[in-house]
Symmetry: C2
Subunit: 214 residues, 2 copies
């Protein structure tokens, strides 16, 4: 229902609002204004109100938002009130880092399987009670474990093939960390994280601030 | 000089254009149109032209952009024609993953030091010829190694302290992978990568596509 009206940027901001609301809630706060949210997150209060208004504008003038109600609504919107079975394809350092990444489990993302094609890795234990599984068994395991989200942490050269394998196996959402863009059927939800872009972006920021101070 | 007119989103798109131009160049292509770039990257041709026009609009109507010239200009804009000394703070899985991350070195980002506060890690070799250094020595090493970019891969609880330490030590750009927002002086260039946001965003995409097909 919401899809067509909400941009990816809005979704990302909602996830950031959510984390901030969680923090305030833990601090024992009850209400927060759009101004305060904006101030904290470097956004205009009008942007905050606009984002939150998509979901019924539950703020009260002069009082602000009731933190617990807002956090619950935002978490529902973000799919955080249910849990998701996740698999990782690529048992290298990045895949292992995600296995231990704090907050994923709390937010309902349960990593239930890790795949690799390297026979030296297959069968070896990784984090917790998981053992690396041969990627050839991906389709079977995705069905057996009801995996809905697949994470690609393979080398760039394997990313597209893995994306296709995940889609064909019935995974509904894909997060790609490999440094190569992939394409998936339109029915799948895709998020691409390009780590080197963050480096370029910071480098550009440094160069321009040097130019500014010339 | 460019700073105030160019948004972060534009910079990110430029980095993506750059990767696509590199690919075309390797394939032996000479020219490319804004339509083709847009098609490949899921953007409107008008958006592509607008982004590239910030830098002098070097496309020719009916011919398109000369790939090599454009890639060179974009790479200069992105700060990719010079090299940057980088340090990583936090020698866990994510820090190690970045050490081996393909493409960073090629793009001029040289990881020259890795720090941690854990005495069990200090002095141990990590990737290549690097050994984990006590974070207490960060300031000294940043100066000695002329480090300009610092990457935070610590637990959330340590992120702000590390960000401040990096800034005070003279690092000009910070990339934060820890799941906590940090604040740095305005003079520093900051990029925050929130991995859990990618998961929330994909989950949201799945939920909304399920609602669409109801």
């Amino acid at each position: 229902m919401y899809t067509s009206r909400i941009s990816k940027q809005t979704i990302k901001r909602l996830a950031i609002y959510y984390r901030y609301l969680e923090k305030l809630h833990k601090e024992g706060r009850r209400t927060v204004s759009s101004h305060e949210i904006g101030e904290e997150l470097g956004l205009k209060a009008s942007q905050v109100r606009k984002d939150l208004s998509y979901f019924g504008g539950f703020g009260k003038r002069g009082v602000g938002y009731e933190i617990r109600t807002l956090a619950l609504k935002v978490s529902k919107i973000l799919g955080l009130t249910r849990s998701w079975n996740v698999c990782i394809v690529g048992a290298g350092n990045l895949g292992r880092a995600l296995l231990r990444f704090p907050g994923l489990k709390e937010k309902g993302f349960r990593i239930v399987s890790v795949f690799d094609k390297d026979s030296a890795k297959i069968g070896k234990p990784v984090e917790r009670d998981l053992v690396v599984i041969d990627v050839k068994r991906l389709s079977e395991i995705v069905k057996a474990e009801q995996i809905e989200i697949g994470v690609i942490t393979t080398p760039a050269a394997d990313a597209q093939e893995v994306a296709e394998l995940l889609s064909k196996s019935g995974v509904k959402g894909i997060i790609n960390f490999a440094p190569a863009r992939v394409s998936v059927p339109e029915t799948a939800s895709l998020e691409e994280i390009d780590i080197s872009v963050a480096f370029s972006s910071v480098a550009f920021g440094i160069i321009t601030s040097e130019e500014d101070s010339d």
